[in-house]
Symmetry: C2
Subunit: 358 residues, 2 copies
Amino acid sequence: MSRDQRFLILADGLFGPDSSKTANACIRYTPERVVGVIDATRAGRTASDVIGFGGDIPVVATLDEGLALQPNALLIGIAPAGGKLPAEWILLVARAIEHGLEIWSGLHTFIADVPELAALAAERGVVIRDLRRPPASLDVSRGRVRAIDATIVLTVGTDCNIGKMTTQLQILDALRARGIRTAFAATGQTGILIEGRGIAVDAVVADFIAGAAERLVLENAKDADLVLVEGQGSIIHPSYSGVTYGLMHGALPHAQVMCAQPTRKAINGCEWVKIPPLAEFIRLSELALAPLRPAPVIAVALNTFDLGEDAARRVVEETQRETGLPTTDPVRFDPAPIVDAIAALHAGRRRDAVPLGH
Amino acid sequence: MSRDQRFLILADGLFGPDSSKTANACIRYTPERVVGVIDATRAGRTASDVIGFGGDIPVVATLDEGLALQPNALLIGIAPAGGKLPAEWILLVARAIEHGLEIWSGLHTFIADVPELAALAAERGVVIRDLRRPPASLDVSRGRVRAIDATIVLTVGTDCNIGKMTTQLQILDALRARGIRTAFAATGQTGILIEGRGIAVDAVVADFIAGAAERLVLENAKDADLVLVEGQGSIIHPSYSGVTYGLMHGALPHAQVMCAQPTRKAINGCEWVKIPPLAEFIRLSELALAPLRPAPVIAVALNTFDLGEDAARRVVEETQRETGLPTTDPVRFDPAPIVDAIAALHAGRRRDAVPLGH
């Protein structure tokens, strides 16, 4: 995938720090690819005003205003529950195609499968990229990753949208700077958008979740000694736990990094599911992998965006004490504690791999 | 779905007690619907000879011989790993269609999606039933089953193909005979074939596993007070665990029945995954559901088909002692211990539901 897009991002009515995950990640990690955001409820402001980063990227009210910013691609930057395409967007996407914009989407409903949009795109010679479309042929997982030497680290979390992708992206450069050939294995539409490759494990046929994770790890390990796998969902999420476990059992990590938001006490949107205390949750996550491959949680990544600076520092310290694990907010503070923990694990595995007598 | 089929079952090269799950279940539970089995390697024998039940149902070598038995439907009775359609079968299915036979299949590769077979079936006016095809529109799970009164019991197991469907089918009539309005919620292609309805949860898009389970429980609870949900896979299965957990978290059972095969010490086909001792496995299964809905394991169903009578009785007694739970082999021996445990749970929930002061 080339990365020379000039995205106009559709986030209508939902552009915000906690409600437009794909849009925000695109702006955070590849701001040079974003020319503007469509959200009529926030038009006239900037990305920085609305989500706290992204500088002067303007928010506009309509597609027409957005076209003046000379985009060459429309990115659908919000993902409604279930991923279905709202009917009112079809018209907007059609008009974007008529103006020659590539269409990028992470929705479960594939844009290229909407007959009128596919026909229009074909007619105009416009590319539609459905980031969640699975590879044509997947196999079931058989533990093939056990045959490779690379160190595999998976982020897991107490809930969705809590920092599993962000944590990996925040530590990637630091690990590379230490001379470790490190790959980021993207498992969701946003990670794929940023990384340029990956498999959306939540969009494959259920029997092939682990198989998709297995393939992804094997592919990433071809040119890396450390594979950072983007986690999905939560082992206690009533909607998405199947994806979470399938990913864990297909990726077979050597270690987990636990992501949590200290202020979140229940699953977002399913408040009847209370999040257990972090130390207990960590134990559950280790138990879930133990019969396949022991994978200790070696660090904690906290998401403190909704806390003041002092409260954030305090909760990092408290969590570190309670769990006995290196802890940080890798966006707000230095991600080094997580980087150190992973680098130490990797160095230890390298030492252990040296044949006896050498 | 009507149940007046006269099935010719394709099980070529694989008809056997442990290798043709769909064929065997169809023969065990609806033998009146089976006219013959195609397996060239066992031609001339009877079902009873080969799998131990099914009486005189003949095994034939070819489709042509099978046609002499006057079938009106071809059932693909074996499911290769990954569910893909072997190329050599396409020709056979095409010939069956030419002879006017309905095609029933539980494979992941949908017969109706093979263009030449679909065209041929349309031309001949033949129906193709892909048992695994998911409903057109699924939603994500949101714990909606918490709003219904029905008692929900899920079979779980240490591995695939160990008795999760069979156990439910063996206890269904006994529970009904006790006056409990009981439904069987089929979650796999074989259960759907027998029951006539259901959703193959392993064939839905990964994000919708729990949503499919939720829908299935809600539909079955409309005319039942007790819903027996067919379990899938195993929480430690490296290929299929995502389906297992998604089903658990979508169905939200009040209790689990644990299925195990005493002689099986590792996951079939993935022998590197050892099956923990049963008491420990039971604890893992309870922990996996506890944050969403506490669901104790209330009985154990052993599959002792590969043991002698005495050894089978011994292992039932030992397991009962080790786990402290009612235990039986519900096929070989009286399923009453499991039936009693479920009936007691259901009666207890009914009593608890009586408003205070009444």
